[in-house]
Assembly symmetry: C2
Homo-oligomer: 201 residues x 2
């Protein structure tokens, strides 16, 4: 199944082909591939090159570790994410390591790292579905996450599966066409809300 974005302007195929499935194939991911995914995250830019991101990772082959990580997702996400071969939590350090001052870019830069990881996944035929629905306090206790660092996202990683594998209520989500607001609704110039003249041909 392909859900290539129907774009108004051309974009790179690695970006157009990416989407976030709930259904994953029953196939494990070679650690060689996973290392390249995190290597991609590693080279994201960040404010003062702080690299505030970190990850906790579990693969299904490690039943105990996988169950532990799965238990940090909210119930609704556990329902489908339990079938993914790889789960991860995305964490960010909210203070600069060099001076302990608040890092206003901490969450944003975790997003940049995730963006890189997603592109590398697409390049390797892997799918990723990120979640904000996690239990950060539970994660902090289970993994002894230190103060000023916090789990913000979870990632399910694997090969795309058939939507038929999903419970009926969720199947429609994976089959739905992708949609986005047009550029004129978020690219402005003179004033917030006024479309940029750069959007006109």
């Amino acid at each position: 199944m392909s859900k290539i974005a129907v774009t108004d302007h051309p974009i790179h195929s690695l970006l157009a082909s990416r989407w976030s499935p709930c259904a994953f194939a029953d196939r494990s991911v070679d650690p060689v591939e996973l290392r390249s995914l995190f290597e991609a995250a590693r080279w994201a830019p960040s404010s003062y090159n702080e690299q505030p991101w970190s990850y906790l990772v579990a693969v299904r082959e490690d039943a105990e570790g996988f169950a532990r990580l799965l238990s940090c997702l909210v119930e609704a996400n556990r329902a489908w994410a339990r079938h993914a071969p790889v789960l991860a939590l995305g964490l960010t350090r909210e203070r600069f390591s060099r001076n302990d001052k608040p890092n206003a870019a901490a969450q944003h830069d975790l997003g940049l790292a995730a963006g890189n990881l997603l592109v590398e996944a697409s390049a390797r035929g892997l799918s990723v579905h990120q979640m904000i629905g996690i239990l950060p306090d539970r994660a902090r206790a289970l993994y002894r996450i230190p103060e000023h660092t916090r789990a913000l996202t979870a990632l399910a990683i694997g090969y795309l599966g058939a939507p038929e594998r999903l419970p009926e209520g969720m199947r429609a989500r994976d089959l739905m066409p992708r949609s986005r607001r047009p550029l004129r609704e978020f690219v402005f110039a003179e004033r917030y809300g006024e479309p940029s003249p750069l959007l006109e041909d």
Copy 2:
């Protein structure tokens, strides 16, 4: 000048070749290219497909608009960013449009949009340098940014320039090799701080 990342594991060339220069060439960017950059941002994933991001954009050809946007950067960033042909502010809406509840992913998802924009820029031979050093209150007043939306980042966009163009104190920055923490410092398994066994060959 090329600063391809020296990676420990292979990653896609679009990710390995990206870096954030201070020096931009004296060459404008065709609006066709800019539209594709924002189109790439458009197709980023976001929590509940909220797409909380928006952008205010100015090109150097529009002297007044460019000066206005430049005035929203902190002094240290104005020094080099004033030579970029395109400037933008990255904004995020911190509440969900559908229910007005706080969106915990708002900043993270602006980072995802930026990640897509960076990849598209690399694919088109463009460079982007993001900044967290901006004056959000000034931006709010100048652009009438509504409540619950805020400017978080700025982006300088253009073609790579020779570092010789930079003031002496900044030249070294663009010539410096790129560096990152190794994976074992941020990819964990059992516990925060303990490297994942997936990193071992």
